[in-house]
Symmetry: none
Subunit: 146 residues, 2 copies
């Protein structure tokens, strides 16, 4: 389970440290790819395996073909250096709009990496916003039970 938000710097070489708490839960075989809303996502092996349902075949709908190409085409296996950092490629940094700072966020089953501005919009929610969002979860749960 990945929890919490960490603000780390990205150096001139595109390196960013993954929080130690996360790293110790990430075995080799972890994959980084592009995610929705312009973030990058780190999939632990078992989560990545869950995405294997997305396949190309003669019966695959057009949108799924497109999604599959983007997801898998952008994916790479994570490689940590001695200090627990990974290198974000120029392409990945451009996609996520990351320059000097990255926010690394644990989202339960996977990890997301955001640029400064976009994450602030999500993470710095006021108590009022937060309350509203939480009520939505409650509401949704109730709807699902029925």
């Amino acid at each position: 389970m990945f929890l919490g938000t960490y603000r780390h710097s990205v150096d001139a070489k595109g390196r960013v440290a993954i929080p130690a708490r996360f790293r110790e839960q990430l075995p080799t075989g972890t994959v980084i790819s592009k995610g929705a809303e312009g973030c990058l996502q780190l999939y632990p092996p078992q989560e990545w395996a869950g995405e294997q349902g997305l396949r190309l075949g003669s019966t695959t709908p057009a949108e799924e073909r497109r999604l599959a190409r983007m997801m898998f085409g952008a994916a790479r296996e994570c490689e940590f250096d001695g200090q627990g950092r990974i290198v974000l490629s120029a392409d990945q940094r451009q996609y996520a709009g990351i320059t000097n700072v990255a926010w690394i966020v644990g989202v339960n089953n996977l990890i997301e990496i955001w640029n400064d501005e976009q994450w602030r919009r999500i993470g710095e929610a006021t108590p009022e916003e937060y309350t509203r969002i939480q009520d939505q979860v409650v509401e949704r749960r109730r709807a699902q039970r029925t």
Copy 2:
């Protein structure tokens, strides 16, 4: 079952002692997150488990993605030091408006942490307010049943 209100100090390192009565009911795996109305909440593992249904994947709808990011990004697993204290991150203290003092309140199934000012507003309710609030709940329940 968590009951009672405790006023504890928060030191320069952001540490706050959790009352011993509460602590002995909190196994490892307890999670602290942001709560409604600007408080912080401690979820014992069995309570937190209810929130776990929310997962990210290529088929997760947009509003769920947002919820998951906020909820899990704001959460952290509690780690007690030898004196039974937890560290409130700078982010959590800012959200809850906590500086030197925190009120730790047992609310049946979970624990809340409030700043001085906000808690006084809730805790020092007059008999009249108390009655009015109780009637509101009764009214709401009645409306829902129909």
